[in-house]
Symmetry: C3
């Protein structure tokens, strides 16, 4: 299922332009190298377009946004669209402040995204910025669970229809969906929530995976979600054995991503099609 | 002694708004998650007040300050005061440049802090910004030692009286004091000075511990200091056994914080009341 | 060969002012502590000169430059020159955008560097900013190899003549050269390219090593290059034994630097004089 996806990353070695927050930027860079891609971080308007031009994909993360970097996000996003590059949005904290929500809406209006990845609360904020709200929204309140899974999948497909982007909702259960098809992914470990940046790292990987696999965005994004989840499981098992804590968990997650193969991924992925 | 303090963090899961330097920001975020709190980093004036409003505590660290972030510190600090949130100041490098000293003084003038944490040199600079200097200041020159401990404790209590904040002075011997009472803490290991950010991480933890324990600020700050020191001791023991160096020490410090319990802390804390 | 160099770092404990990118800044700070130096990060124009004044060396890295920090780089660079401090340039991504190239040229024009360290592509961009190009340039295309080593060494010596700086070109084979003499260093491991920041960390170490060894800049820079390469070899050996990945490799590189001694370095260094 993921063999071509994984091979394309190694072969194409995609360069990913990241305009991302300074909290997790080092982990994002290291995870991109770990999965076979290359990172370039550049957040100034003076070079945003030019840097994006030499890349395969653009990863926009609003985690520690400010007026200066928002301009760069818009400039890079438009240029990446012109060049038909893969563009990923990680709307960190959308809904938590008017500035983040407004910036998310402005990005959605001016840039066409290939993938939008966030937790359910961020993705619901994204939905509010995309015209008329749908009935299903209200049913997916705090978390995606087995009880509201059908509604959550319908919501993700609906938002994909509205935005044209693959929608990735991460949590205890992950969903990756385009307007027609959804994958439900049950990899990962709850301890991952004790490590900052697993979401940011995943968005970077989604940009790399999708950038190296044009025309297969949904499958590529799903492979990235499974890779992160499986790495989390393997890493957690190891820290339990070695009696270690959350910082070593973080290191082992990246370690496992650097050692991931298509075979290993296929063996460990827990995916269902909806 | 620390059972309630530790339990409140787990139960209340405080959200801590950090306006902090970009050198150690990832470690601060990870240590907050490790100790049972949650971090949110936001340094732009456009959202500083709003983000602080949804939090329990605010952690201001001037490590890599600039004109843009100083405005956000002031705005967030005032808003946090209005809402009676816990507010911590980490005056990194105060005294090393006029800009840092001036910013420290401006923050002290316009924001009421619950806790101020720094090394002796930074705290002495803080003292200079708080009106008339006291006689004891001159006696605590470079480091807190057994020889000048009484003077240092008196100095900390005096500064607490002037500022209304709990004063935490860290070094080989740590002091946490309000105007009446001081705890002298002898946990930690000299190798911790070979890891950047143990001070920044501690300030983040102090914000979380005090935020979850309103009305017990001194005891909460002391618990945070002990937690960091004991984690350092345990981490150092382990890198010695495993023949490792300073980067693994950093990881193991956070690991130990993520595995800390009230029982473990009480067993390892070396505290004296002054 | 390196005994005095290494001892001077421990004895003089140089304070290194870094104006560096936010991607790898934490690793740079930790590696400076690991090798026996101390870091201070300060990138605002309001304090750049003052902070540099209290330091031994200045490390300018343009990895995530912006208009605000470029001003600080120029101000700090000029002040460091006035005070005859060691000044290192790491022209990250020079050639990748007009902004980075222009900034590199402006820095070269207005600041006198003690050492310039980059990969071959960055150093070739530096050369373009230094007046008339030399014939050898074209021959050193993508990487320094055994085939083009003589040309690369001649190029490095020529650029040192033009800039007055020791030139350090890193890659599979590393070169450190002044106008008269070059060291070719064959330490390191290809897996190091899967870790972000080994170059940035090395530039920080070069600033520390050269700052503590005035008058021996070439030898000090060479010692730093060997230290990083040997640490990479030892770290790689260990992750192979322990079945780990790239994040642990990063940690072990810093671990090995923190455990490096002159004896260990002499035993492992693979150097040739050209």
């Amino acid at each position: 299922m993921f063999e071509d996806i994984m091979e394309n990353i190694i072969v194409k070695h995609p360069l990913v332009h990241c305009i991302t927050n300074y909290v997790t930027v080092n982990d994002v860079a290291n995870v991109l190298l770990a999965c076979g891609a290359s990172p370039i971080m550049a957040d100034d308007e003076k070079e945003a377009e030019e840097i994006t031009s030499i890349c395969t994909a653009l990863n926009i993360n609003i985690g520690t946004l400010n007026s200066r970097t928002v301009k760069s996000m818009l400039a890079a996003g438009k240029k990446a669209n012109e060049l038909s590059h893969t563009v990923v949005l990680d709307p960190v904290g959308a809904g938590a402040s008017a500035f983040r929500t407004k910036t998310t809406f402005e990005l959605l209006e001016k840039v066409k995204f290939s993938v939008i990845r966030g937790n359910i609360s961020e993705i619901k904020t994204v939905d509010k910025g995309c015209g008329t709200t749908q009935g299903v929204d209200a049913d997916v309140s705090d978390a995606v669970t087995d009880e509201n899974l059908e509604e959550a999948v319908a919501f993700a497909k609906g938002l994909s229809r509205k935005t044209g982007a693959v929608i990735v909702i991460t949590g205890a259960i992950d969903i990756a969906a385009d307007s027609e098809k959804a994958y439900v992914i049950r990899n990962g470990n709850p301890a991952m929530s004790k490590v900052t940046g697993t979401g940011c790292m995943l968005s970077g990987m989604v940009a790399a995976f999708a950038g190296a696999n044009k025309g297969k965005t949904l499958l590529a994004a799903t492979a990235a979600v499974c890779t992160m989840g499986l790495a989390g499981e393997l890493a957690f098992k190891r820290i339990e054995e070695e009696d270690k804590g959350t910082s070593t968990l973080r290191a082992y997650i990246i370690d496992e991503i650097s050692r991931m193969t298509a075979g290993r991924l296929e063996g460990g992925a827990r995916i269902e099609v909806k």
